[in-house]
């Protein structure tokens, strides 16, 4: 793998020049790249599960035995990562179907969406990896050290980054106008936020049991 197409270069490229990188990957998707996407998504989810339970990551690293209680805010990351895994899995299937259809338009479009989701799965991964030192040194106890607002900022950055990248990704090699892409992105992010807040409201005000969420983690 040369410098231009190396994995690290591609990852940084997505953050530094997303439009160009998206085009580059769209032009030459391969089965290897698709498997790589799936792997990235799986690793992301594992990472998110560990980080959403901050001292859990510490526990793993220092060889302790179990995860602590999960926390609702970190659940957002997990939900996003789960969406990534599901969608990328589906898109692998679509891509396989696309190959048999001799590179139909459907396949072409699926590749584009796939790449968006590739980025989608990487965003929490890269942002949260910046928190590893804090997790190791201070146990990831954001609330204990009055860092709730920083944590909300981090959460906002994840959503914000999602917004920008999805907005740009939607416009690549498609006839969607910038305005249309913006509307679609707002709807998409809006739905996720509404779902999250609906769950919180349901728990705190209408006696909704969410203990089943524990099984996801």
């Amino acid at each position: 793998m040369d410098q231009k197409t190396s994995v690290i270069n591609r990852i940084f490229g997505i953050f530094l020049s997303p439009t160009t990188t998206l085009k580059e990957i769209c032009d030459a998707p391969t089965s290897g790249k698709l498997l790589y996407l799936l792997l990235v998504a799986i690793v992301t989810i594992l990472f998110v599960f560990l980080v959403q339970i901050p001292s859990g990551l510490t526990s793993i690293l220092i060889g302790a035995s179990m995860f602590p209680q999960y926390q609702i805010y970190f659940l957002f990351f997990a939900v996003m990562a789960i969406f990534s895994l599901i969608f990328i899995g589906l898109l692998n299937l679509i891509y396989a179907t696309g190959v048999s259809l001799k590179k139909s338009r459907k396949e072409h479009r699926s590749r584009k969406i796939m790449v968006n989701l590739y980025i989608y799965s990487l965003v929490p991964f890269l942002l949260l990896s910046s928190q590893i030192p804090f997790i190791l040194i201070f146990g990831g106890h954001y609330s204990l050290f009055h860092l709730q607002f920083f944590f909300y900022f981090l959460l906002g950055a994840v959503f914000g980054w999602h917004f920008v990248l999805i907005y740009r990704g939607l416009q690549i090699e498609s006839d969607i106008s910038p305005k249309g892409a913006k509307i679609l992105t707002v709807i998409y992010i809006g739905v996720i936020i509404c779902i999250a807040f609906s769950i919180i409201y349901a728990v705190l005000y209408i006696n909704f049991d969410i203990s089943w969420l524990g099984f996801l983690i």
């Binding site: 953050f15 526990s59 035995s65 209680q69 942002l127 928190q131 804090f134 009055h146 006696n207």
Partner: protein, 380 residues
């Protein structure tokens, strides 16, 4: 050029979000390390546990623990925090009367009950008493499942849909029931609470050691006959708490006192040299566990607090050794380590938790308050 600028911007952003929490947390870390163990545990319990997620009895114990921490430290923020969640448990009270939200176990939803009454006594706000009465009516309802006898005579099942006696019920439910009798001036409720203890002990107490098993089913017998440490702790701590609630003229007062003292005598034989007890108290091959040790220490300090003549030097030494051992399990952040987790399938095979467990945190605070009250926190 544009790429280079973006690369620089990205690197700066990454370094900022990496270093900011480290720098910001440093002074709080030094401040925390200077605070005493009770404050550390209270701070962690209030700030780090997610009360919107864990909806069961663990929250009830944490809330009560924070009220105890408010008494010890004089810091009203713990009480204000507790009040938010007590109010929330009332806001989400079911039509039947159960506190809290989404918890199927009858007994577990009651765990926050004493905190509700605490705020009634403190504020005089009738909403707390009305909610407590609604919950008591729910507990006393003939439509609930009763074990080995008719309603209010037989045992109150811990579960909503099965006839099972759980030793947990003694701690989660019975002190609230007795306290309601005192608050409302109704001796019947007090008698019912004491009767529940007798019914539970009839089925769960082991005759030789006088300690108690975990679960007894009306249809299947013992579902768990182990002398589970925390379960034994629920029983001793419940009785100690009730002795502090009901009048000492009650006809069964001596029975309750003798029962808990006989348990303590037996526990003395099983205490490890570390000061802790094993999760199965009579099986030294099982791991040493913190929460049961906290409950036993709490029991002795509580009894001493009520009447100093009940506790001899042997029990006092046992309690202080346990206290020292439990304090030794608290880390720099205020996490009480080595409590066992939930008791689902294979409960004793579950490793000790190396993170904060709600009941470990909450009971630590309650224990500390009793030790502070009897001036035992200085150790032996």
């Amino acid at each position: 050029m544009q790429i280079t600028t973006r690369k620089l911007g990205f690197t700066i952003f990454f370094i900022l979000i990496l270093s900011f929490p480290l720098v910001f947390a440093m002074p709080f870390h030094f401040k925390l390390s200077e605070q005493n163990v009770c404050t550390r545990v209270a701070e962690y319990t209030m700030n780090e546990l997610d009360y919107s997620i864990f909806t069961d009895w663990g929250k009830g114990l944490c809330i009560h623990g924070l009220l105890d921490a408010a008494e010890v430290t004089g810091d009203e923020k713990y009480r204000a925090f507790a009040q938010c969640w007590v109010d929330q448990s009332i806001r989400t009270q079911t039509d039947e009367g159960a506190f809290g939200h989404g918890d199927m176990a009858v007994g577990d939803s009651t765990a926050i009950g004493l905190s509700v009454l605490n705020f009634y006594n403190r504020t005089g706000d009738p909403k707390y008493l009305e909610a407590a009465i609604k919950h008591l009516n729910y507990l006393r309802s003939p439509e609930r499942v009763w074990v080995d006898g008719p309603p209010l005579i037989g045992g109150s099942s811990h579960l909503a849909n099965k006839a099972e006696l759980w030793i947990d019920h003694l701690y989660m439910v019975i002190p609230f029931w007795a306290q309601m009798g005192v608050t409302l001036g109704n001796d019947t409720y007090i008698d019912e609470a004491v009767n529940q203890i007798q019914v539970h002990l009839k089925h769960l107490q082991e005759p030789v050691t006088k300690l108690v098993a975990h679960i007894w089913s009306e249809t299947e017998g013992y579902l768990d006959s182990n002398l589970w440490g925390r379960g034994v702790g629920w029983a001793t701590a419940s009785i100690a708490r009730i002795l502090g609630i009901i009048p000492n003229t009650h006809s069964n007062y001596s029975y309750l006192l003798n029962t808990v003292l006989s348990m303590l005598a037996s526990l003395d034989d099983f205490q490890d040299s570390s000061g802790l007890w094993h999760t199965i108290v009579n099986d030294s091959t099982t791991y040493l566990e913190t929460s049961c040790s906290t409950l036993f220490a709490y029991t002795i300090a509580k009894l001493y607090h009520i009447n100093q003549t009940w506790i001899d030097d042997g029990n006092r030494t046992m309690a202080i050794r346990a206290f020292n051992a439990v304090v030794g399990k608290v880390d720099q952040w205020g996490v009480v380590h080595w409590c066992s987790g939930g008791t689902g399938a294979n409960p004793y095979g579950v490793p000790r938790a190396d993170y904060a467990i709600p009941w470990g945190q909450g009971m630590f605070l309650s224990m500390y308050r009793e030790f502070e009250a009897v001036n035992w926190t200085g150790g032996i």
